[in-house]
Symmetry: C2
Subunit: 466 residues, 2 copies
């Protein structure tokens, strides 16, 4: 098959040089390693379709890859070298953009930061953003239904995808780029592909929703008694404005770790508080209330009645960035302080405050010496629940303890009707846990759909449900 | 199987009396007729699950039914009497409602108007609404991804469903009622069930998003040169406010038919205009600009530069209702004036103005004597394209001409990258056209998914793709 590929598509699209392939065999955190004899880099949807048809004919598995920023090993080929990597990075064009229609059509390999810039160029904004925006791609973001820090207002990738172009496992091309606002011709193939992790076909382009550009933002940092107070503040704000875009909860010990390990950080408030919230409010028109004034007006009564213990609104863009830097540095600070297991989980929003506190207690009781704490997207019912080794932990703590800790956290999440994967997907990392904890109806549906669309199990083998 | 059902579930849940079944064998417009030996009326999800499992065991097809308001024969059992009707109407409870969380959990048989009232009772609103709100049910609205007149701002049912509870064809229960805001455990089963028309399982309940209650609304009626001017006005408004909830386009001849056939109607404007638009703006807080003032402020420049020829803002709620009554009476007025074929279609929003004009010309040229015109949800790229018989048409005009007219309209829509079903679904009526006009990729995916989840083809046989 490799010789057919090389002949038909040429050296630009079919790479067999081991050194060039090497960086794409391992995930960015270095946890998953694979092997592959070739990296396919098609330059067009037609090339992808021809490659997929050829792979189907020869029974050769394909591992699609965008920016290779998966948190769960979702883009790493299998270890046995049986699959070819199919990289979308050459397909990185913006096919069209219209401020009037509020739509952009981007190819799968376009990097998120470049889409941000393109939208900005026409006076609009693509609101979804996350830490890896400089390397993650549109195709990968759709295939994993990515989240990030602005989900509260605009939703996950699912809500921002108006239509998808994809090559299905039989080599046929699904064209949803017309972005019809209403289309009831049966099951939504576009929505089925969102979050499918490359296991049902290869996303080649997408029509994406844009929103008006920002005219201003304000960032506040709050000191709070507990997570319930944080949710109460959020509900109070949401009852009075649509302008809240970010609402992140940060426990006191996460802040302490950041201050200890991340140079140049300082606490936004003078006193100590057991919990904190970072709030971002925005405006997208001169007619909108200025965000700083809005936050001041809405937070004042909460301070007065003691729901908020203390609060500060960033006085400058630099200070706003400094507040966000604390939030964004938590994982890095934790890594500097020792090993930890990390769990991207969700439960119903109303249940999250109790869950954060009680699950941490249960984990600490079951694994003496560890410290469990959760931070993140409270308003989405999604936190990153991390369990850190105690100071006297052995060097092989992670290898010895992580599987049992993960199982306990996942059991607690499942008992709370939550999800063991809120925004990172399943990939390789959570595949066994998905199988262990899913209801019979979910497993039946996932397996039936996978087998129906990809009967040879050639699309991203070993991930999700294949 | 009937005797087993009767014994296990009793006479309340299993009805075999022909007179009681009779009204549910025909669709509300009287176009589709079926037969069935029994109507199952389960009172709980457990009963639905047991009935579906029994049906799977015995190989007996089920036709799910809500309010029986399908426009495409989607809820009428097959003519051969092979299927049992499974009515969800007894499952009509509101399981929970929370203004704070902005969520309601309603059973499938709950009538839309009752959900409106319940939301109103807690100071919130369920925004989706349509003509049959007094009889259509939540389950049916989800199964058909219903649209209506408020889609512009809040989307179709798909956007309002936070999670679904459903019995899958194997009798297992999918429980998505936790309404997790983020959940990346593979393909979204909830989204797959939205718009599946009962062919992949029986929706038994749903978690639905609520929005803040209205504090006011204003309705304007515009005279316009052509559909492009209407779209230009809409884009101008949407660029400056989020408050536009309804934007309906009405051609001059539709207005004339309403004035001629519907008692008590009068033209909102004095002069004659080839096209009209009805605009509804709303407010949901005292801090929002009063909608009438907003419309006046934003429409004034459009009037000045001639984009809008004339405009009037309803001076009272009664006048606002009168404007809407014109829009809502178009189909009735057309029926009074003679036979017509009706086509619920969509194309990309930006292409709709041209499509409305050119497709009408093509149809009128191909079928001399007919009058073609389109009205409806311009901002959604969705119009109801109607072709009326000429005054000298024979009595069997509909039977003789409708199939060929439908094929031409569907061909034009498909050539414009549109959908032959924007909001009504496929049901029985559009099944052959879906098969004729879908891309190979769409047919492959629809059939593969259907066969995988319902291998015996027992769920709503003869509809959509089964």
């Amino acid at each position: 098959m490799l010789s057919i590929l090389a002949e038909r598509f040429g050296p630009k699209s079919v790479i067999t040089d081991a050194d060039t392939i090497e960086p794409w065999l391992t995930d960015w955190r270095g946890r998953f390693h694979g092997a592959s004899p070739a990296l396919l880099a098609p330059g067009s949807t037609e090339e992808v379709a021809a490659m997929v048809a050829l792979a189907a004919e020869h029974g050769v598995p394909l591992t699609p890859q965008g920016g290779n920023t998966s948190m769960v090993g979702g883009a790493t080929p299998p270890e046995d070298g049986s699959a070819l990597i199919l990289s979308l990075r050459r397909m990185n064009r913006l096919r069209s953009i219209s401020a009037e229609a509020g739509l952009a059509v981007a190819e799968a390999g376009m990097i998120l930061a470049n889409l941000h810039a393109s939208a900005d160029g026409v006076g609009m904004r693509f609101p979804l953003t996350l830490g890896s925006r400089g390397s993650c791609t549109i195709g990968g973001l759709i295939a994993t239904n990515a989240g990030g820090t602005q989900v509260l207002r605009f939703g996950t990738m699912r809500a921002l995808v108006a239509g998808v172009e994809a090559v299905l496992p039989d080599g046929s091309v699904h064209d949803g780029l017309g972005a019809l606002k209403k289309d009831n011709r049966g099951y939504s193939i576009d929505q089925l592909l969102v979050g499918s992790e490359g296991t049902l076909g290869i996303i080649t382009a997408a029509s994406l929703r844009l929103v008006p550009a920002l005219t201003g933002r304000a960032v506040a940092w709050l000191g709070l008694k507990d997570p319930q107070a944080a949710l109460d503040v959020l509900r109070m704000l949401e009852g009075q404005t649509k302008a809240i875009e970010g609402f992140e909860i940060v426990p006191g010990d996460s802040l302490a770790l950041v201050l200890e390990h991340i140079p140049g950080t300082r606490s936004p408030l003078d006193g100590q508080h057991p919990w904190h919230a970072l709030i971002e409010a925005t405006a997208s028109s001169d007619r909108d209330e200025p965000p700083a004034a809005l936050l001041e007006r809405l937070l004042a009564p909460a301070l007065e009645r003691g729901l908020v213990k203390d609060a500060v609104i960033a006085a400058s863009e630099a200070q706003a960035e400094a507040f966000w830097r604390i939030r964004d540095s938590i994982s890095e600070a934790e890594r500097a302080s020792g090993p930890a297991t990390q769990h991207d989980i969700s439960v119903p929003v109303a249940d999250m405050p109790r869950f954060m506190v009680e699950a941490a207690k249960e984990v600490e009781a079951a694994f003496p010496g560890v410290r469990a704490s959760a931070f993140g997207h409270l308003g989405d019912g999604n936190v990153h629940f991390h369990v850190r080794a105690g100071s006297r932990a052995s060097v092989d703590w992670y290898e010895r303890e992580a599987p049992a800790i993960t199982r306990l956290v996942d059991d607690l999440v499942t008992a709370a009707s939550g999800s063991i994967s809120a925004e990172h997907g399943i990939g390789q990392m959570k595949k066994a846990e998905l199988e262990r904890l899913s209801s019979p109806s979910r497993l039946f549906a996932l397996k039936a759909i996978k087998h129906a669309l990809d009967p040879q199990d050639l699309m991203n083998p070993g991930k999700l449900i294949g």
